[in-house]
């Protein structure tokens, strides 16, 4: 999605990304990012929280209007939880046994094979 923002912007269409993976988007380098410090999958606001979703869009729109230069990131003030411990869990290696890692590898290889088949069907 970052590559899309860059391409549109380079051809005269201003863009704003709403996202939860701050490091990945900023590493690519985009014009504007509205960052929500939420679990991946909630770029547009907290689930079933209309107020949060409206504020998330409003912040993105203000960013679109007012960013002074490229690489402007605004972080939403909304907290996912007052307890930040959820952030430790994503791909947390400390809790995985060698057997679990081997199982995950087997699953990942299966998923890749499925994706390859889908890609071949689509091309």
């Amino acid at each position: 999605m970052s590559l899309a923002a860059r391409h549109l912007e380079a051809h005269g269409i201003p863009t704003v990304i709403m996202g939860c993976a701050k490091d990945i988007v900023e590493h690519c380098g985009v014009p504007r990012l509205l960052f929500s410090d939420f679990p991946l999958g909630n770029s547009a606001g907290r689930p079933f929280d209309v107020e949060s979703q409206a504020l998330t869009l409003e912040l993105a729109l203000r960013l679109l209007e007012s960013a002074p230069a490229a690489r402007t990131t605004v972080q939403s003030p909304i907290r996912w939880s007052s307890d930040p411990s959820w952030k430790r869990d994503y791909l947390d290696l400390t809790t995985l046994s060698p057997e679990t890692l081997a199982e995950r590898r087997r699953e990942f290889d299966e998923v890749k094979a499925v994706a390859r088949t889908r890609r071949a069907e689509s091309s």
């Binding site: 923002a5 860059r6 863009t15 993976a21 014009p31 770029s43 869009l57 290696l93």
Partner: protein, 182 residues
């Protein structure tokens, strides 16, 4: 909605209460799984910038998602579904913003432990966009939104998907675009 409590700004936060370093976590994870050629995320020094030229209340806004339409026969794609590569799509798609299909994100690596993708408005903000148009905050939405494939090589994205996305956005006459990865 949980925002900072009054007075909360005065105290320092725990040292690990920072945005998740996804690139490092992902690298470490796949090395631990035994893969020795870690994914390289796209990275540029130069970043293009185009200021918004018209007031937003008069602007036509484009909308791009990575969510996927339901794919019959491809297994569980709903809330909480396990990662489902069969639900992926590999061509840019476009659909009406007036009557959008149900969209799902079982085909991407969202945080399945802490969220369940049960509310599409959390990753596909069409309702919010319609509200913003109704309130006069945004001039209008393009008649269609666009779905961008994920899990592509940078080369395919840059040479095929993104030029086609630009072409469609130009055809739609959008003056700005909101991009929402899932």
């Amino acid at each position: 909605m949980s925002t900072a409590k009054p007075g909360a700004a005065a105290g320092p936060a725990p040292v690990d209460d920072v945005p998740i370093p996804y690139m490092q976590r992902t690298r470490d994870y796949y090395v631990a799984l035994g893969y020795d050629d870690p994914y390289r995320w796209a990275h540029f020094v130069e970043v293009p910038f185009t200021p918004l030229r018209v007031p937003l209340r008069q602007a036509r806004l484009g909308f791009v998602t990575t969510a996927a339409p339901y794919r019959p026969g491809a297994g569980d794609q709903g809330p909480g579904a396990p990662y489902n590569a069969a639900a992926k799509f590999y061509q840019l798609y476009s659909a009406s913003t007036a009557s959008a299909p149900e969209l799902f994100i079982s085909h991407v690596g969202y945080d399945r432990r802490h969220t369940s993708a049960a509310d599409p408005n959390a990753y596909f903000p069409l309702r919010q966009l319609r509200d913003a148009v109704a309130a006069g905050r945004v001039g209008g939405l393009a008649s269609r939104f666009h779905g961008l494939p994920t899990n592509r090589s940078h080369r395919t994205t840059l040479e095929a998907d993104v030029p086609e996305l630009l072409r469609r956005c130009q055809e739609d006459g959008v003056e700005a675009a909101l991009l929402v990865p899932s």
